[in-house]
């Protein structure tokens, strides 16, 4: 095990009740852990909804739930997974890691940081409180007009609106906080081009959130005004236009998918170099590709609206095809980083490699949809469901679990158990493929998304049954993870400060870090300051020599 290189001297704190401390904390590390815990609870909730959906679809004419309940289920599942699970998971990881990685004492605005977090559980409660007021929203997470107008949906949609206003405000505030932290609180020597890749991805994500979410907020306000004050934004009878909602929604909704994937890519770019014992290949190309995704992300929203007939197909098709290029660059970065590296497959690395395989499929089956003729055929079929689950579950969730296994020793001073971690990984990977891959085939056969039932004559029985089995494998994969966390937290905190022989600054302090993180920082001369400190600056070229050194210090 590597020795502590820069442990802070004093960690004196004053005592108060743990509950009071957690409810009022402004420490970015504690808020980060609160984010992760909250997201995981909503992950269990939204995952349970998915199990009901899948069980209902296991066999034709099963009718476990009626159609209205089914609509509510997929609406709540989608909304919760995107706004209360994936986004806050990534925000939580950013909260924990970004100040540590840039060598800051905390976020730029710690109290606003706490506010951003506490709006989330409140928003979640509001979202689900519809069950007590005549039913939750049932218009899908996209809440298209006119379905979401007052004529066709009840007060659940109003609660959906208010919840999303809260959650959107929370994201905007936290993105401003991240940007101010990254712009202003970097340690001396930490230039922009020495920042860890994860920090870069959080920065670009924050820019996307800051610029895209307010447009969504404006759209959601319009929906609220239409529903409650007799407005006519989306009502063609009074001069409005329902497509306006789609434009506003997807102007946010498409950058949103990059918001959900970029930090996961950042995590992978932290994990793969450390477990390959090499610096990341093409650091600058990676940063450039991230910026390019962020920029192009604002010019592709209308590919969700090809079939409306109101968008200029060649432009949006071209831009959508272009945005695959920077993602391709990143794939070559990751592969070249692993190429001839000294690979070890601890659980974080397994999830990173799992990310590469599933996200590649998810990316490619999305790129195919950039072609309008294909999109016309596959629009609103299960192909789209397959695509988004491959990128969100196979991509983002894999990245989130890679990060949790990677940073858990930093957060709690104990490494998660490797054996249980591997069981978790195998079940999750197999479950994801068994559940989501057959959706491609169903899409090609024309099965529409968001249907509660289908005809036995359609020939979709077998694939649906297989998917349902897969969804229960995914559910089972969560159990070893929860048991792992439970057992590890009860066990000894003996991981040490730098269990993975890491490269970046978070491993230079104790595990867990003290309040305000650092007493001293190593000199920062590259994007791997801790590696430079341990093995000498310039060692990056002498990979062979490095491997020999690592041999001696790695446990």
């Amino acid at each position: 095990m590597a020795t502590t290189v820069l442990a802070p001297g004093s960690t004196r704190t004053y005592r108060r009740s743990a509950l009071y401390e957690w409810l009022t904390t402004t420490d970015h590390k504690k808020i980060g852990i609160l984010y992760l815990t909250n997201s995981f609870l909503f992950f269990l909730l939204a995952g349970s909804l998915a199990l009901v959906i899948r069980t209902n679809l296991a066999l034709p004419e099963l009718r476990l739930v009626d159609a209205t309940t089914y609509n509510q289920l997929f609406t709540m599942h989608g909304t919760t997974m995107i706004f209360l699970v994936l986004m806050p998971f990534l925000a939580g990881l950013g909260n924990y890691a970004v100040p540590l990685q840039v060598g800051a004492a905390d976020m730029a605005f710690p109290r606003i940081n706490a506010l951003s977090f506490w709006m989330l559980p409140l928003g979640g409660v509001l979202l689900f409180s519809g069950y007590f007021f005549g039913g939750v929203a049932a218009d899908g997470w996209t809440s298209y007009s006119p379905l979401a107008e007052a004529k066709y949906s009840g007060s659940g949609t109003d609660l959906w609106i208010v919840a999303l206003l809260l959650i959107g405000t929370s994201s905007i505030l936290s993105s401003i906080n991240f940007l101010a932290t990254i712009f202003k609180l970097r340690a001396p020597g930490m230039t922009l081009l020495r920042m860890p890749v994860f920090v870069w991805t959080v920065m670009v994500t924050s820019l996307l959130i800051m610029l895209a979410t307010p447009v969504f907020t404006a759209g959601v306000f319009m929906l609220y005004i239409d529903r409650n004050f007799g407005g006519a934004f989306f009502d063609p009878a009074s001069g409005g236009n329902p497509l306006l909602w789609q434009n506003l929604f997807w102007f946010f909704g498409h950058p949103e998918v990059y918001i959900l994937i970029l930090p996961a890519m950042g995590v992978i770019s932290e994990v793969i170099p450390v477990f390959s014992r090499k610096p990341i290949f093409g650091y600058r190309a990676f940063i450039f590709a991230t910026l390019l995704i962020g920029g192009l992300g604002f010019s592709v929203w209308a590919h969700h609206m090809f079939t409306t007939g109101s968008v200029y197909l060649p432009f949006f098709s071209l831009m959508t095809s272009l945005i695959g290029v920077p993602t391709g660059i990143k794939f070559f970065n990751w592969i070249a980083t692993m190429w001839r590296g000294k690979l070890t497959f601890a659980t974080p690395m397994l999830f990173a490699v799992g990310f590469l395989s599933t996200f590649l499929v998810g990316g490619l089956d999305g790129a195919i949809l950039a072609s309008p003729p294909v999109d016309f055929a596959l629009h609103d079929t299960y192909w789209v469901v397959a695509h988004l689950h491959f990128v969100f579950f196979g991509g983002t969730m894999m990245g989130v679990f890679a990060a949790i296994y990677y940073w858990f020793p930093k957060m709690f001073g104990a490494r998660l158990h490797e054996g249980l971690g591997k069981i978790h990984f195998v079940l999750m990977l197999v479950g994801a493929w068994v559940t989501f891959f057959p959706m491609h085939l169903l899409g090609l056969e024309g099965m529409p998304r968001r249907i509660a039932d289908y005809s036995p004559a359609a020939g979709w029985n077998d694939l649906n049954t297989i998917e349902t089995i897969g969804s229960f494998i995914i559910a089972a994969s969560v159990l070893p993870f929860m048991w792992n966390v439970f057992v590890t937290l009860r066990g000894p905190r003996d991981a040490g400060d730098d269990p993975w022989d890491g490269y970046t600054l978070e491993w230079a302090t104790t595990s867990p870090p003290p309040p305000y993180n650092f007493d001293h920082l190593p000199p920062i001369r590259s994007e791997r300051p801790l590696f430079d400190l341990k093995y000498g600056h310039g060692a990056r070229r002498a990979i062979a020599a490095e491997s020999a050194t690592v041999e001696g210090t790695h446990s």
Partner: protein
């Protein structure tokens, strides 16, 4: 292990160089606000483009009142900037006076807008033009109110003896916000009242 860099305590980080962290936060917040209003303006222009007669028959605005209110709001930007220049020179009393004038001008604007609302012959629910008009001016009015509240807090802090030539970030921040609100109004005034 060769050298060490002393970690700087958080306040010194901000003072290291360049613009104050809180001001960076305000500028980023305004960037997000610009996108919020961009959403509203985008809705306006996309619906405007689908209509040949605009504003639709039956919608009449009070251009004279709006012009007066515009003049008031633009003047308030100047008094606000005067308040900033006073506190930069360490003149807290001058800042307090100019800030008070700015708050009064902001309140007059809000009162004028409410009067305008009460005298117009259409409402939110009388067609898409009414919805757009009240939503856009209403959200702007809410931002004016927010600015008035922010300025009042700064004013109270000034009256209590805070702020000096070196330490007056809140004054700078609230002034940037107020100018932003003013610019949004100029956009609204030209869009709704002049361009048609």
């Amino acid at each position: 292990m060769t050298g060490r860099t002393e970690a700087l305590p958080a306040p010194l980080h901000g003072a290291r160089q360049g613009i104050d962290t809180a001001l960076v936060g305000m500028l980023l917040f305004i960037a997000s606000e610009i996108m919020f209003f961009a959403g509203l303006f985008g809705a306006y222009f996309s619906i405007r483009a689908e209509h040949t007669v605009w504003p639709p028959a039956g919608f009449k605005l009070d251009l004279a009142l709006a012009a007066v209110l515009t003049a008031i709001l633009v003047t308030s930007s100047f008094t606000m900037q005067y308040a900033v220049s006073r506190i930069r020179k360490g003149d807290r009393t001058g800042m307090i006076r100019a800030m008070t004038v700015t708050i009064i001008l902001g309140v007059i604007f809000l009162a004028g807008q409410l009067y305008d609302y009460s005298s117009l012959g259409f409402g939110v629910s009388s067609g898409v033009y009414g919805t757009l008009f009240y939503t856009m001016t209403g959200f702007h009015g809410a931002h004016v109110l927010g600015g008035v509240i922010g300025m009042s807090i700064v004013l109270l802090r000034g009256v209590n003896g805070q702020f000096s030539a070196r330490h007056h970030t809140a004054v700078e921040a609230v002034s940037i916000y107020w100018h932003f609100v003013d610019v949004v109004w100029l956009g609204l005034f030209s869009t709704l009242f002049l361009l048609r």
